[in-house]
Symmetry: C2
Subunit: 688 residues, 2 copies
């Protein structure tokens, strides 16, 4: 196995190479008219401006945490402080993946618009390729950084537990970036979106995406900042967390493994991830569509095709890497059992995606119901949307429960970790499909702002409509994987903190459970409050520009887009500090009081966080599509309700309420639950 281990970083390099070639290919494509180039330039500049500010703040944060980490771990022995190096490398890898992915997305958007002037097929190609750059950078940098560090630390003559403990800093680095990118990005994107919408429609009476609206560029920047970079950092964190969690659990087996297999169970997670990269690259070639074809089918083929290949691939991989069976703590593990556990995760991920599609897709009963409830006004629209969101938690939770119990049945805690990893093994293509959405959305915005012919906008709308569904599926997937990853990290925490049971009949643990379960509510409230405050600033700024810039309303003067970008950026960074501190400080504060109580807090935040995340994401997605359904013309009892009808106005209210739900507070909870688990894992050796 000694030499084979180098295949792992090699697979990471392969992904980076792939994304490099895709990037070159996209860069060569034409950008269209001067107006288009100008608009795209504004978006790109705005996105870079946000990242610059974010990374500046991050640099301070990372430095402080690195010093704290090094300092608090230096007491244990001579080399444990190296955890801070892992931490920095993890942060840099995630930040780099986000940066490269976002640059690519801001290149791909305008080129997608231009390609849409020719046809649907070429436009899809560019949008999807743009997304795949993000996907491949995430998995490539994730696996390369992680495996390179692992190989380096393995040569240090440490025992394996210490290797993995020091390595876990990588995961904390990834989580730190995820916090900034997902929470900060989420606040950014919705402050801009809600601010632009309200300022434009309510106060100034101009349509969506109108170039006269000074906040419209910030809105488009937001798609890249929140939906591309944010989602990328979120999955980077899950991906890395699932791998490290599995490695911690696998490390326990080294003492009982047959000869030649000592490290098998530790390395398997890395090999599974490496295989996933190769197959995700293969999967991108399935995504093709002809004029008049259905982009949804093409994307589905890519995703599910890769998943199918993965099932076959990991069978051979697992049976090759692991011994046929071994016994640890009276449980008989088999390679076949581990294989089943991984497939269970993969299947659960896909199933959660499909359920999400049901609850948020325009073709199904829930969204149709919200749309028809819009006829009696905003109140009934909101009530039914909240109902759909709450109802939509049931099946995903049952799937997660089934996955946990059956994966455990097949391979104990290691099985649960492998299920998480199975789910995440196709992250490369999953993220490509996710990032495709905001690129198409941007492409549509550019078409509108550049006054391109109607058929161009129709084509980008077609791509965008699919993007709404893929976004919802991607969110379901992100939540499901966050849940399993958190559980894997939870088990890893228990091992590292040397906790054997967590008895909830003990009040301190029940108290921890309550406290943990409350955090997602508090965190969501903070995130929504942040969006509200930032949107208000945006509205005031837009009002100022319309008052002070002469000719803006008439379209003869240009708006000061960068001012709005700046407002969103500053607000996002400022507003994420408090929730961020909450996520980081609670595990530390509780952990040093009682490591058992911390376990209760982790269980509580995971369970309640998953529920609140599904509830909010799906309610938001359903409201969004209910609006789209009415815009396409809704017929009820012989009456037609379309754009401009009272039903439409009611559905716009629902959509606006859903915006922070689905793009800020909901997805932020993924970060909350993972970050708290990772922080606990990292401090475990200190509090045990």
């Amino acid at each position: 196995m000694d030499m084979l281990i180098y295949l792992i970083p090699a697979s990471g390099l392969l992904a980076l190479l792939f994304s490099f070639f895709k990037n070159t290919w996209i860069t060569k494509k034409e950008q269209g008219t001067d107006k288009m180039i100008e608009i795209a330039g504004h978006i790109k500049d705005g996105a870079i401006a946000f990242l610059k500010t974010e990374y500046k703040t991050l640099a301070i944060f990372v430095t402080v945490v690195a010093v704290l980490l090094a300092f608090s771990n230096s007491g244990r022995d001579d080399s444990s402080w190296l955890i801070s190096i892992s931490f920095i490398v993890g942060a840099v890898c995630s930040a780099l993946a986000g940066f490269l992915g976002m640059i690519a997305a801001t290149k791909a958007n305008v080129r997608t618009t231009h390609a849409a002037r020719e046809g649907l097929g070429p436009a899809l190609q560019i949008a999807f390729s743009g997304g795949s750059i993000m996907g491949m950078n995430v998995v490539g940098l994730g696996i390369f950084g992680l495996s390179a560090l692992f190989i380096a630390y393995s040569n240090m003559n440490w025992d394996l537990v210490k290797v993995i403990n020091v390595l876990s800093g990588f995961s904390l680095g990834a989580s730190s970036i995820a916090l900034f990118a997902r929470v900060g990005g989420g606040i950014y994107t919705k402050a801009a979106d809600v601010g632009a919408d309200l300022a434009g429609k309510v106060y100034e009476g101009i349509p969506e995406d109108d170039p006269r609206n000074p906040a419209t560029i910030a809105d488009n920047v937001g798609d890249n900042v929140g939906d591309v970079a944010g989602m990328g950092a979120d999955l980077f964190e899950s991906y890395v967390g699932a791998i490290i969690g599995s490695m911690v659990l696998g490390a326990a087996f080294t003492v009982v493994m047959p000869e030649g297999f000592t490290l098998s169970a530790v390395l398997l997670p890395l090999f599974v991830a490496a295989l996933g990269i190769v197959l995700s690259i293969a999967g991108t070639f399935f995504v093709r569509v002809k004029e008049g074809g259905n982009p949804q089918k093409a994307l589905n083929l890519g995703e599910f095709g890769t998943a199918g290949l993965m099932v076959v691939g990991i069978y051979f991989l697992i049976t090759a890497v692991l011994p046929e069976s071994w016994i640890y703590n009276e449980f008989t593990y088999t390679s076949l059992g581990v294989f089943f556990a991984s497939v269970i995760g993969l299947a659960a991920g896909s199933a959660i995606g499909l359920v999400t599609e049901y609850y948020t897709g325009t073709e199904y009963a829930p969204v149709k119901n919200i749309a028809s409830q819009s006829i009696t006004g905003s109140a009934t629209n909101i009530i039914s949307g909240l109902g759909v969101g709450m109802m939509s938690t049931a099946i995903p939770v049952m799937l997660i429960v089934a996955a946990i119990i059956s994966a455990f049945h097949f391979a104990n805690l290691y099985g649960i970790a492998l299920a998480a990893l199975g789910m995440l093994s196709t992250t490369g293509i999953q993220l490509a499909v996710d990032a495709y959405g905001p690129i198409s959305d941007n492409a549509g915005g550019i078409a509108e702002m550049a006054n391109l012919p109607k058929e161009v906008r129709e084509r980008t709308d077609k791509l965008d409509a699919v993007g709404n569904t893929t976004a919802a599926i991607g969110k379901g997937f992100a939540i499901g994987s966050a849940a399993l990853t958190a559980l894997a990290l939870f088990s890893a925490y228990m091992i590292q903190a040397e906790i054997s049971t967590i008895d909830i009949s003990k009040p301190v643990i029940m108290g921890g459970l309550f406290l943990g379960a409350m955090l997602p509510f508090l965190f969501s409230a903070m995130a929504m409050g942040a969006v509200g405050r930032a949107a208000k600033e945006m509205i005031i700024e837009v009002g100022r520009q319309f008052r002070e810039i002469k000719g803006l309303r008439e379209g003869t003067a240009v708006a000061e887009y960068s001012k709005c970008v700046e407002i969103s950026t500053k607000a996002a960074i400022r507003e994420m500090i408090l929730p961020g501190l909450l996520a980081v400080s609670v595990p530390v504060a509780v952990g040093f009081v009682s490591k058992e109580m911390l376990a209760g807090v982790l269980a509580g935040v995971t369970v309640s966080g998953v529920l609140m995340a599904i509830f909010q994401s799906n309610a938001g997605g359903a409201w969004d599509n209910a609006k789209k359904l009415i815009e396409g013309g809704l017929k009820v009892d012989g009456f037609l309700y379309g754009k401009g009808s009272d039903a439409h106005k009611a559905s716009v209210v629902g959509d606006t309420v859903g915006d922070p739900f689905k793009d800020t507070s909901g997805p932020s909870l993924n970060i909350l639950i993972k970050l708290m688990s990772v922080v606990s894992l990292v401090i475990a050796p200190l509090i045990k």
Copy 2:
């Protein structure tokens, strides 16, 4: 102690006697004009019609469950089937309390209106006296039924564990009524309210409480059905559950108690409840107000005065009843420790009430913020309301956690149960204050419909405004007590099912936790869907009447009020079946698979249920008062926003969304968590 035990049922009789005299006193008061008498008659008839239908369905339900209970317990020994007798007695006591309380409320409403023609003081007296009848019936029948059964069973020569197990059927009976009254009543009241509002304002263009609106009587009936009978049954359940939970835990001590104190810890809960009755009666005499005075202060004096007396009273009670100290399972219990635990519960209940007042009262920042967010439209109103609701979970949860941990510190699990009981010991006066709210609300409605002079409505409005706050406080109290009661029942379940630890690191228990935590979301979604469907039927019926009854719109013909009452009644009964079955069947189904998994489910449903209940109740209360704040005239940045402004319209949307939140799905969760715990406790001997 042998003879002293009869003091307990005697205290119950005292409460019933008090309520009898209050009832006679109210009945003698004048009812006012013929029009007032007619309207009040409609409301009373509607309320009785609902109760009749509900009790018919209940009779079937109770019979079936009683037979099942008798049958499933008959295999154990000759007399365990008697649990079904306890069950029936519990159901009958709760139903009777609800019936008598509601009749009194429907008598008090019109007499309050009439008294308001004279002044504020007399009106408050009648409204509060009406509420106190409900309060005293609940505690009186609760304690009388329970203690009478306990005395009867104690004479059977059974061992104590069996006595209490058979007695636990009483709690299940109470829970069954609570399910029907709270869930069914909640659906009824909001179907009528939302239906009447939308039909009146949106479709027919007539104001609130207009007598031409056929649904307006159903709306007034709903206040009695949901807020009086529903709240009463809810607290009856908590009250009984807390007593039984404490008795189960106290029963363990009998073997180690010093001579003469064998049954002390078992009987203490009953004595605490008995003392609470006497002091609640005393507390009612504090509630007085002069013309121009503040009714809020009068009610607060009653509540907090009683709580203050209670602290002193239970000190003497506990030190008299319990031995100074005893040791069980290596824990040293002291009478002082038990006293502290009870006071902690009492204090936590009051503190949660105050926090609730902060988040839902018009004088504080949260509601003011929602009101000012209404200026930018419905969407921002909704977002900020949701944010306030979520934020408002933080402090109550921390209070509950602090109460759990410190009560446990002082007296172990018995301490937690006594904390629940301490919180509930003032139920008599708490419920009087709660029921005062809907009586005042009704009084205002009657004043409006009977076209009484403006100053009458102003007086009833003053009473009603206070009622909104007391309702919010009452809900906070109901949730807090439900949480602690559920925990007491949870511990009791563990003992009866012979479970020693519940390790959440076991996947089956973690799975149970997820599953349990999901149920409140599912249950809420069902409840909200039910309100939506029923409200729709109501709107259709109102439309039909306006079309078919000539002269209705002109006010020359009378609406068919009873048709609307019938629709609400039928819908409520029909729609509560599915959520009801869910609550009852899940513990049974899970319990027979794994009693440990059931423990996980109970923990999950309690934690998530408490959070969702606080979130929904407070969001709803805050929206309601934000609307009231704007109606009173809201000044922001120099602009005045009042009734009829766009901000007001936006706030009406929030209020309508909040209606099912705060009066249907939110409070129903109290029932869900307690009912599931009680069902588990009852089936515990069968699955151990």
